[in-house]
Each structure stands twice: as structure tokens, then as C-alpha cells.
């Protein structure tokens, strides 16, 4: 059995087909992004951009007028904007995946003319960095629900503490600022963290993520 070099498969670090609970890692070296990693991250970001556009146009106005009486409640929607970072990181499992996905999604919003202008790019950077920090704390070896929730929380913290406290709610009293942060953290943990993790798992089961580690975790134990 001969193998030509260009067709030789990179070594996988997963112990597949022995137990269903292994974590498949991205092929090494981690900074060597494959073409499909880049394109999938960008396409996921644009798909989320489509959904953000719909959310902004149809749902956000209703929800924000409903919570106009108690604005920190509106911050409970923050998690929706953090989902691309978490999903990108869990699917691609390389450093920079969260940042890239979130930045491209922010760019989609920018070009469509969302209400914050170029500020959305700064938000995107902060949100992506939060998830990257969570992954780095686990040294890019674990990608389960704990990491996802921590990523959601840190992402919300970065976004609120470094940006929203200064720009959107600078005049709040400290107590209200803390409540605002709390709502953001809950939203990040539940919607982006747990929700993002469940979403990636469901996508992996359909076979759409076969090129990525989540798909590999699901596939080899149950060949079709």
C-alpha cells in the first residue's frame, strides 16, 4: 500500500472508535489553517450575519421597546451576538477561530448599515477575545460545554466592561452597572455558551461537520 506525500493524512490526535466521549482536536500544527477552516468560518459568520439582520429588523425593535422600562433586561439578548464566536471556536478548534468568525459577522453588520457603525467592529474584537481567552485557559485541549459556557461569560465580560460601560451606560450608578453586567453574563453563559454548544453538537450529528473535529467525534463510532 503506497501513499503519495500530498495525499498522506495528517495525524489525528483523537482515539476514535474506542469510546464515544473522546475529544477530537484540530490537526496539528494549529496555526496552519486549512482552506476549508477559513472558508467555513467566514460562511458561518455570514450566515449568522443573515440571522442578525433578520433579528435586528424584526425582533430587536419589539424586544427593546418591551424592555425600555427596564433596560438591563435588554442586555439579556447579548448572548445572541456572541454565538458566532463560540460556534466558530467549537467547530474549528484553532486559535483565532472565535476572533475571525466574530469579526466577519461584525463586518456583515457594518456593511448592511447596522445602528452602531464601526463600533460594531470593536465589539466584535472584544467578544472574540473573550472566547479566545477561555479556550487558552484550557490550552486548546477541551471543547466541551464547560469551555463553551466560560467562553460565553468571558466574552460578555470583555464586551461590557471594556466597551458598553463606557459607551452605552456611562451614567448608570454602580449598582445598576453591576446588574447590567450580571444580565450580560447570564445571557452569554446560557445563549452563547450552552446554546452554542448544543447547536454544534446537533450540526455534527447531521454530518455537516464531517471535515471538522466535532464531526469526527460523532462519525467514526457509527459508520453509515
Amino acid at each position: 500500500m503506497t501513499q503519495t506525500p500530498s495525499n498522506k493524512l495528517p495525524r489525528q490526535n483523537a482515539r476514535t472508535s474506542r469510546s464515544a466521549r473522546t475529544t477530537a482536536l484540530a490537526t496539528r500544527p494549529l496555526m496552519r489553517w486549512r482552506g476549508i477552516d477559513l472558508i467555513t468560518a467566514a460562511m458561518l459568520a455570514v450566515a449568522f450575519g443573515v440571522m442578525f439582520w433578520g433579528f435586528d429588523t424584526f425582533i430587536y425593535p419589539i424586544l427593546s421597546t418591551a424592555t425600555a422600562g427596564f433596560p438591563p433586561l435588554g442586555e439579556l439578548m447579548l448572548g445572541v451576538w456572541l454565538v458566532p464566536a463560540v460556534v466558530g471556536a467549537l467547530v474549528i478548534r484553532r486559535p483565532g477561530a472565535a476572533l475571525f468568525t466574530e469579526l466577519v459577522a461584525a463586518n456583515v453588520e457594518l456593511f448592511l448599515g447596522n445602528k452602531w457603525g464601526a463600533a460594531v467592529l470593536l465589539s466584535g474584537v472584544l467578544q472574540g477575545l473573550g472566547v479566545e481567552l477561555a479556550l487558552a485557559l484550557f490550552r486548546l485541549r477541551r471543547f466541551g460545554v464547560v469551555v463553551a459556557v466560560l467562553g460565553g461569560i468571558l466574552s460578555a465580560v470583555f464586551e461590557i466592561v471594556f466597551y458598553e460601560w463606557q459607551s452605552y451606560v456611562p451614567e448608570y450608578s454602580s449598582a445598576w452597572k453591576a446588574i447590567y453586567l450580571g444580565c450580560g453574563i447570564v445571557s452569554g453563559a446560557v445563549i452563547a455558551g450552552a446554546g452554542g454548544w448544543l447547536l454544534v453538537r446537533a450540526l455534527a450529528r447531521t454530518g455537516a461537520l464531517n471535515a471538522f473535529p466535532p464531526g469526527q467525534e460523532v462519525r467514526e463510532p457509527q459508520p453509515v
Partner: protein, 801 residues
């Protein structure tokens, strides 16, 4: 070497980006065809028990033309990907054996792969830039890139000039663009995956001629996959047949191989020339009987009118787009003044070339789209048997009411998955309508058996092959007993077996009393129909009316662009300076510490607005969300500040207004593709992420349209959103999931197409990627940046006074 005919298609206007002295159209470069050798190639992707390609050994001589054929699922496309070296792009698995092109593994510059759906290979907004993708990836100089682009477009006889928008191309145009894109690298081996399967007969003929001419002129080796053999047997030298296990069963000169294996090929579903036309599958009539007419006062007798479309017109407005956010919307007239009737026990074929409006008309008749003018009404044949009166216009019906009467299969059947297993998918509409569960299950099981899907009942529908998904969609549309069945291009790209299944269902449904509408250009299916409606450019062509003047091309003309008005400094600045100016404003905003500073700063911005943004009506619609945001920030800060001071609220609002209002207006002038060029060349960001992001941005409208299509499919299957918030949330979740799956699949196909054109070539070789268009920094850019810096630092300076 160029014939006068070809020269007519060559654009007279030189591209703006190339200096005039290099404008000439060189003849297409002739190359030495590659020698291809496959030795015992075996490929088993992870997740499959059996290999897709099993021990394939072939030797293809330089310059020969080979046709690969076989049943659906026999690994033909996989073989092409192996020859292109992109097998492991989207999948991992066990690969043994070797592929050698001219003695070494295949690379993007020597091998060209054109995929089945040319839309997957689009990477840019303009034709010339799209074709330039390949040469860019291999680091060629700008002058050489554009000369290759011109020669590639000439060799495929491209009908438009190279500044034409890629989104405005027809199916045939996109296919030729894809061919030009792969020929731009002057490959020695050209691989084509079903190049004409998506086209109507006229466009297919033109494409075939373009392929033959281009390949003959260049001398490259050609390997192509087709399952419509009759058009190609005279153009190729050799036929290779694969079987469903991925092995080569026949290989040799076309005539003799066809003669010896014609019967087995036809039995496996390949469209063999001169074989007997396939017969419709025998489907028991009882499986297609409309539920309404089963003794409950349904359609009364043959020919009862079910649905009528009266003078319908459809005018499509261009929707939100990332790329044209600040360009005037163009309206397209898809249908004009069309009348149609659907009667029980009758099959109507809607025929016409691509773009004639067949899909639009069938969507109207299915009640999933609304006409801009005119009405589509349900008639007595359909309304009898319904308890409560429904509105006459069917697009207003609720989802369950629509599902009870209609079955619709769109052109892309693989989008129509609504459940986790095949069986549940087909049952979902019956369950939603509350039909008797035992009867429904029996009917579904029988239908799956007849269509050959019963072995796959428990499988996830996303794992099925193309033909199987088509049959699944068909089963799902008919299993609940609708009175009207509407199929949009049901046999495009399908093999004989799936054709038989489609035709069988059509005939059985028609005989059972269903009104069937087919939008198709397949002559075999048209022969099954009782009546025909011919559409041309959105109007009905009445054969009895004698020769008519040719219809005006293209429908309504686009709205005239606004007269050249002063576009302001922003209109003359590049994207990078606009972006940096916006970002500086955001960074400067937190330094606003009191109301006086805020008001002065905003006053300065308003004063500068005409200079920077130009004279004209202020775009209130664009500003509205921003102004709403400013108001809500003011309100919330007033409410929750320690002293509830009005000045606190006003200060917060003005601070936000400082960066939001100009930021939104500046950002709307940025062209994403130009921004990509600037980021890559001026800021020297890594090229591949930027290129990938720009290519993905062009898919925005397509993904938005996919969302709408998914919503339509769910509506006609009875799964549309109910009024309750929970129902709507569930529907949004399902649509989100469907959109993401399609996004991932499309990304995979895009990755294969881009890798085959050398996307990652720069990583392995030492030559960095080049950019076909320059990123100039003009004096206006410096002025814009300086102005941004001044305005952004005003708060900081004021606060020190």
C-alpha cells in the same frame, strides 16, 4: 486564430485597471496535455463502511478525452476530486494508492476542476476579478493576470464584458464563467463534473460547444463525468464505466464500450444514447389519491377547476445586500399578466427557457408566494370539502390549510428536509394535519417501498444521495394526499431510475384525480403532460396568436442612477481611510465629559457633513436605527443614573450620537471588495482569510434567499409558524438550523472549488498571493484621515481647556 464571430464578443473597452498599452487579446495558450496515472486508488471516507473508490487503476494519455459514467453514487465526482488532489479538503478517510499527473501529485496550476454547480465557484462581484482568482493564487504579476483573464473569457465565448456583475448572470453565463476561471491557469488536465446538467437544452448546447472549442484549442487532457451520454459520445475518445461499488467495470473506446455495456448502464440508470426511453414506474393509484375526494365531497368529477391564476404579475425588488447597500435597487419583472388554470385529473407542463418565470409561476400556484398584481384563487374543486370558508387568495391560507390541499417540491429538493429520519420526514405533514395515523403510516411505508427508499427509512435525510433526496421530497409532497401537486424541475440532473420514479408518481397522481403542474424542459416529461403553458421572458407565448414581436429584454429597466451629484470627500476616499476615520470617532467618544463639549463636537460634525458626505437628501432610513439607538441610550441613562438628571441622559445620548451617526454614514460608502484589497495590500493582513471573507460576503443574498425558501417549504408542508410566540420561536430555530446546514455544505463545496484553483498554493510554495486590483492611497484618503483625527480628538482637547 480568432474567428470574427469570437471577436464580436470581445469587449471593446479596456479594463480600467490595466494601462492601455497592454490591451490586446492574446490567443489562448496551447499546452501539452497531461498524462494521468491512477494506481490502485482506494478511498474510504471515515464514517462509511464500504470504500467509495475501490482499487481504480487507469492510464490516460496526453490530450485524450475521457468520459466517466456510472450509476448515481458510484464515486464519479469523487474520482474527479482525487484527480484534482482535493479529496481531503472536506473529508478525512483512508486513502491508498496513488494519483500522478505528469509523474507528480496534482496541483492547482496543472489540473482544473469545474464542479457541478458553478455558483459554488463564485468568489468575486465582477466577472474579470472572479476569473483572476486562479492566477492571483499563484502569485502572477498583475499584467499577466489580466491578459490570462482576457484570453480565458475569449476562449469560452463569454457574452458579457469583464466588468459585468457576477450576480446578474444566467445559469449558462455562470457555467461559462466557471469554465473561464479554471482555464485561466492554462491547465494540462481539465476535469468537468456534469457541466451541462443544470442547464436547459439551448444553454447546454452552447456550453458544450464552448467546452469543446476551448479544450481543443488548448490541447489539454479532458476527463469529464456525465450521465447524459448522447450529446458527448462523438466528442470523446474513451469511455470508463464505474459501478456502484466504485470499481471500473468497462474501459475502452467509446463506440465499442457503449455497445458492450449499454444494457447494464441503462439498467443502472445512465442515459445511454439510442436506448429505449425509460418508462414511468408503476405506482399504485391508491397511494396518490387526494384525501379530500375520498368520499368527503371533494373535487366532483374529471376536470373540476382547482386553482386559477388570474392576470398575475410578479415584480421582484432587489433586497438588502452587503455589496450594494448604497446602490439603487433594480426591480425585475419576473412574470407579466399570466393566466393559468389547474384542473383535477390533468397534468400541465410549464415550459420555457431558463429565466422565463417557470419557477415563479409554480411558486404562485402552490401558494408559497404572493403575486404583485392579480390573484391566485382556489376554486370550488378545492374549496369543497373544507369546513370553514378560507380566503380565496391561496397565499393567505394558514399553513395547515395549504398543506392539506397542496404538495410542492422546489427545484433544489435537498433543502426540503424537515425531520430527523426519512420516515418521519414523509410522515410529518400527515401527522400535522391530524390524519388517521395507522392509515398514514401504511401509506407512507408503501410509498417508500415503491420509491426504493424503505431500506433507508431510519437514516438521517441529510446522508442521502441527490437522487434519493429527490425521491424523498416527492414522497413527502404526495403522502398526505394533496389535491394539487406542483413539481419544479423534478428531473434535472437525475438518472433514469429517479426519472422513472418521478414520472410514475406524476402519472399515478394524475390518474387518481390530482391536478399536477410540472415546470420542466425535459421533453420526456413534457410528453406525459396533457396541456402545456409556454413562458418566454415572463409572458405566456400563445402558439395560436401567430408570430409576435420579440419581448423586451430584461423586464423593467432599472431605476436610473441618481444624477452625478457631489459625493463628498467620502465618495472619493478609499475604504481604509473611511474605516479608520469611523474607528477614531468611536475611540474619541468616551472623552466627552460635559454637555458643552458634546454639543460643540456634534455641531462641528454637522457643519462638516456636506463637505464629507456630499450634498443630497439625508438618508433617513439608514439613520433611523441609529437615532433610535441614541434615543434609547438617552432614556435608559436618564432612568438609571444616580441623580436621574436630564443632563446625564442627554450626555450619554450625545456621546453615542458622536460616533454612531457619522459612523453609519461613512460605513455605507465602503465597498467590501475594495476593503479586502486594501487590507491585504496596505495593511498586509494575511491574504487567505481576507479572500475567504470577501468570497463569503458575496453569498449573503443567496443565504438570505435560502432562509426564505426553507420558510416556504415548511409552510407548504404544514409546519409553518403558529401564532403563539413559542410556535414562532420553534419555527425560527428550525429555520436557523436548516440555514446553518446549508451554509456548511456550501462552504465545503466552495472550499473544494477554491482549493482546486490554488487557494492554498501560496502556503506550500514560496510565492505569496498577489492581488489583481491595486489599493491606491490617494491624497483624499490622507485628508479624510486627518479630518477624522481632528474631529475625534476634539473632545480630548476640549476637556483639557
Amino acid at each position: 486564430m480568432l474567428s470574427p464571430l469570437v471577436r464580436k464578443f470581445v469587449s471593446r473597452n479596456p479594463s480600467k485597471t490595466v494601462p492601455p498599452e497592454t490591451v490586446r487579446t492574446p490567443a489562448p495558450l496551447a499546452v501539452q496535455g497531461a498524462v494521468v496515472e491512477l494506481r490502485d486508488l482506494t478511498w474510504r471516507p471515515f464514517g462509511r463502511r464500504e470504500p467509495v473508490l475501490a482499487g481504480i487503476s487507469l492510464r490516460i494519455e496526453a490530450g485524450s478525452r475521457v468520459l466517466v459514467s456510472g450509476p448515481s453514487g458510484s464515486g464519479k465526482s469523487t474520482l474527479l476530486r482525487a484527480l484534482a488532489g482535493v479529496l481531503t479538503t472536506t473529508e478525512t478517510g483512508d486513502l491508498t494508492g496513488s494519483v500522478l499527473v505528469d509523474g507528480s501529485p496534482p496541483t492547482g496550476s496543472s489540473v482544473a476542476l469545474m464542479m457541478q454547480d458553478p455558483g459554488d465557484a463564485l468568489v468575486a462581484g465582477r466577472v474579470g476579478r472572479d476569473v483572476a482568482f486562479g492566477p492571483e493564487s499563484f502569485g502572477m504579476a498583475r499584467g499577466e493576470i489580466w491578459s490570462r483573464v482576457r484570453s480565458a473569457l475569449v476562449s469560452v465565448v463569454f457574452p458579457h464584458d469583464q466588468d459585468h456583475a457576477t450576480s446578474a448572470l444566467s445559469g449558462g453565463g455562470t457555467q461559462r464563467l466557471a469554465l473561464a476561471g479554471v482555464l485561466a491557469l492554462t491547465p494540462r488536465l481539465v476535469l468537468l463534473d456534469e457541466p451541462t446538467s443544470m442547464l436547459d437544452p439551448a444553454a447546454a448546447t452552447m456550453m458544450r460547444e464552448a467546452i469543446i472549442a476551448a479544450v481543443r484549442a488548448s490541447g489539454a487532457t479532458l476527463v469529464m463525468v456525465e450521465h447524459q451520454l448522447s450529446d458527448w459520445v462523438h466528442e470523446v475518445d474513451r469511455l470508463v464505466v464505474l459501478d456502484s461499488a466504485g470499481r471500473v467495470t468497462a474501459d475502452g473506446p467509446v463506440a465499442s464500450t457503449l455497445a458492450s455495456s449499454a444494457d447494464s448502464l441503462a439498467a443502472q440508470g445512465v442515459w445511454v444514447p439510442a436506448a429505449v426511453a425509460p418508462r414511468p414506474l408503476h405506482v399504485p393509484r391508491a397511494l396518490c389519491t387526494p384525501t379530500r375526494s375520498a368520499g368527503r365531497g371533494g373535487p366532483s368529477g374529471p376536470g373540476a377547476m382547482l386553482v386559477s391564476a388570474e392576470s398575475v404579475s410578479v415584480i421582484r425588488q432587489a433586497r438588502a445586500s452587503v455589496m450594494s447597500a448604497n446602490r439603487p435597487a433594480t426591480a425585475v419583472e419576473a412574470l407579466q399578466d399570466v393566466w393559468a388554470e389547474v384542473r383535477a385529473r390533468q397534468c400541465i407542463a410549464v415550459v420555457g427557457p431558463s429565466g422565463a418565470g417557470k419557477s415563479t409561476l409554480t411558486a404562485l400556484l402552490a401558494g408559497v408566494d404572493a403575486p404583485t398584481q392579480g390573484r391566485v384563487r382556489a376554486q370550488d374543486g378545492l374549496l369543497a370539502g373544507l369546513g370553514a370558508p378560507s380566503p380565496e387568495a391561496i397565499h393567505r391560507w394558514t399553513s395547515p390549510a395549504l398543506a392539506a390541499g397542496f404538495g410542492w417540491v422546489p427545484q433544489q429538493a435537498e433543502q426540503a428536509v424537515v425531520a430527523r429520519t426519512v420516515r418521519d420526514d414523509v410522515l410529518s405533514t400527515s401527522r400535522r394535519l391530524g390524519l388517521d395515523d395507522d392509515a398514514a403510516q401504511a401509506r407512507v411505508d408503501a410509498m417508500l417501498e415503491v420509491l426504493g427508499l424503505s431500506a433507508l427509512s431510519g437514516v438521517d435525510p441529510h446522508c442521502l444521495s441527490g437522487g434519493e433526496q429527490r425521491r424523498l421530497a416527492l414522497a413527502g409532497a404526495i403522502a398526505h394526499g394533496p389535491s394539487v401537486l406542483i413539481l419544479d424541475e423534478p428531473s434535472v440532473g437525475q438518472d433514469r431510475l429517479t426519472w422513472s420514479a418521478v414520472a410514475g408518481v406524476v402519472v399515478a397522481a394524475r390518474d387518481a384525480g390530482v391536478g399536477v403542474v410540472l415546470a420542466t424542459h425535459d421533453p420526456l416529461l413534457i410528453a406525459l403532460a396533457d396541456r402545456q403553458i409556454t413562458l418566454l421572458a415572463g409572458r405566456i407565448l400563445d402558439p395560436a396568436a401567430g408570430p409576435q414581436p420579440p419581448p423586451a429584454p430584461g423586464g423593467l429597466s432599472p431605476m436610473a442612477p441618481p444624477a452625478n451629484r457631489f459625493a463628498g470627500l467620502a465618495g472619493r476616499s478609499g475604504p481604509l481611510s473611511l474605516l479608520l476615520a469611523s474607528i477614531m470617532l468611536v475611540l474619541g467618544a468616551p472623552f466627552i465629559s460635559d454637555l458643552r463639549t458634546a454639543m460643540v463636537a456634534i455641531a462641528v460634525q454637522i457643519a462638516l457633513a456636506p463637505v464629507v458626505l456630499g450634498i443630497g437628501r439625508p438618508p433617513w432610513r439608514r439613520l433611523m436605527p441609529g437615532l433610535f439607538a441614541v434615543a434609547s441610550v438617552s432614556f435608559s441613562n436618564w432612568l438609571l443614573s444616580p441623580g436621574r438628571g436630564v443632563s446625564s441622559g442627554a450626555l450619554a445620548g450625545l456621546r453615542v450620537a458622536f460616533f454612531v451617526v457619522p459612523g453609519v454614514l461613512l460605513a455605507s460608502r465602503i465597498d467590501p471588495s475594495a476593503l479586502g484589497d486594501h487590507l491585504g495590500q496596505r495593511l498586509r493582513l494575511p491574504a487567505r482569510p481576507v479572500v475567504a471573507a470577501v468570497a463569503a460576503l458575496y453569498r449573503f443574498e443567496g443565504l438570505g434567499e435560502h432562509w426564505n425558501q426553507l420558510a416556504r417549504i415548511r409552510r407548504v408542508r404544514g409546519l409553518g409558524p403558529s401564532r403563539s410566540p413559542l410556535g414562532r420561536a420553534r419555527s425560527v430555530a428550525a429555520l436557523t438550523f436548516g440555514l446553518l446546514i446549508e451554509t456548511l455544505r456550501q462552504a465545503g463545496r466552495m472550499a473544494v472549488a477554491m482549493e482546486a484553483r490554488g487557494f492554498s498554493a501560496a502556503v506550500t510554495s514560496e510565492t505569496p498571493r498577489t492581488w489583481a486590483e491595486p489599493a491606491p492611497w490617494r491624497p483624499t484618503d490622507s485628508l479624510m484621515l486627518a479630518l477624522g483625527l481632528v474631529v475625534a480628538s476634539m473632545p480630548m482637547l476640549f476637556s483639557h481647556m
